[in-house]
Symmetry: C2
């Protein structure tokens, strides 16, 4: 049954008139659809067991060939957090404010070591897929952890900017070869003012295709300018269209802020990307 | 409060004596920890709204810079499913049996088209990070969709093997440039016999690090041979140690079954991976 709250979630998420029809509601669906990234945190520490609960949820996600190709570093030491904030490159002061900063590591180092200790070549790790597969598994695990944190009343935000200075981040965290930090995740109790609207998404016909990819999706997204603009206005953000945001992210190396070195970094760290 | 069922979940997931302490239980945590991949499906179709609900959950996951760099193709046409099964390369007959096969596409094509239509260079898409970022966002979205499906009584299994023949898959699905199929996801009602034990994971001290990466994790995983072996015995699977499974996956190009061509494919599809 769709309640008023459900209708409100759909309107915030898609914009009036663009809501999908026939959504089946239950507590899990509502929980996921209520996600919003939190960027203001209370200084309170995580409750006992929260980290272990997040990791248990993360480990319960699917793992390619059951190979467990990820690790997570939970940084609570203020000095390490400050150093990571310094190299994060995007002005995310909440990295220092929040009690915990989790670094999600796409990690082939264990399996590489196990294989080589038994006399193997680990040649598979020389291929691009070794990076892709570990990156996918890291993201699946992290998403479960994010949902677990949110179910405990905590808030999270992913920090892709940790890839901007990936070699510095690896050095700071003593990462072994055949691994890299895929993204960070700030975790803590949301400050009361952090509870805002849900961020709108393009309508489902932009991303959902039937049987084959249908070619006109770049046009279909034009409706999204409306919800995108209204969200920014409501939050007092600088006026910008979605097309402008996309253009900046695609055309301007300033957007990368060091991320253009990711290939050099992962190659230096052992991935040959053949 | 930890119930008997919770204790059983932890024992199945970690093996007796390796359970994490202090897990905080609620319905969301229990839901995620109960995940098991399903490989036998009933022929029944998905309930009305299930697909839209999965996509709504997927779109509610975080999106890097709000750029929406993924698409999903829901294949229900038996002919397309059969063709995908034929190229999947791993003998996954349930791709044909199940009512729906979702192909999760890391998709820079929309943003590339939007940027170029406005006269931009889209030079950022020439870098490795354009592939990594879209891959991460695709995985975050897909994991929400998987949990949504499971909350509706459906079962799922990820099919990383869709990357084995990535160019053939792209051709079959009419994928545009600047996109590739990251993985597939089979969805349907689990056959009754598909309900088995949870697959065990290494203990948390293998994957969870504090403040910095601690270097001895390849050794710490040795305890995992016990739960790994018992799980395979209980399911009547061929005797194999975890170290052997890792060695095969790392040392033998047979394991890749075409995935060694992933770089050539994504480059041919526009990603320059600079």
């Amino acid at each position: 049954m769709q309640t008023e709250r459900h209708a409100q979630i759909l309107e915030e998420r898609y914009g009036q008139g663009h809501e999908p029809k026939g959504i089946i509601w239950n507590a899990h669906i509502e929980h996921m659809m209520n996600h919003r990234s939190v960027r203001r945190f209370l200084p309170d520490g995580l409750p006992d067991g929260a980290l272990e609960t997040m990791v248990a949820a993360a480990q319960s996600a699917s793992s390619s060939s059951n190979l467990h190709m990820w690790s997570v570093i939970a940084v609570t030491d203020p000095e390490v957090k400050s150093e990571l904030y310094r190299v994060s490159g995007w002005g995310n002061p909440f990295i220092e404010d929040a009690p915990a900063f989790l670094l999600w590591v796409a990690d082939q180092s264990r399996n590489n070591a196990i294989s080589k200790a038994a006399g193997g070549s680990a040649i598979v790790h020389d291929y691009l897929d070794a990076l892709v597969m570990a990156t996918i598994d890291t993201a699946l695990a992290a998403q479960n952890a994010a949902l677990a944190a949110e179910s405990l009343g905590l808030g999270v935000v992913y920090i892709g900017g940790m890839r901007n200075k990936s070699q510095e981040v690896a050095d700071l965290l003593d990462l072994p070869g055949y691994s890299y930090v895929t993204f960070g995740m700030v975790v803590g109790y949301p400050a009361p003012e952090a509870q805002g609207r849900l961020r709108p998404r393009p309508s489902q016909d932009v991303v959902l295709h039937r049987d084959r990819y249908e070619a006109d999706r770049a046009e279909r997204i034009s409706h999204y300018e409306g919800p995108f603009k209204r969200f920014r206005q409501d939050l007092g953000m600088k006026e910008k269209s979605f097309a402008e945001a996309v253009g900046y992210s695609a055309n301007d190396l300033l957007y990368m802020d060091g991320r253009e070195n990711l290939r050099a970094t992962v190659e230096a760290r052992g991935f040959k990307l053949r």
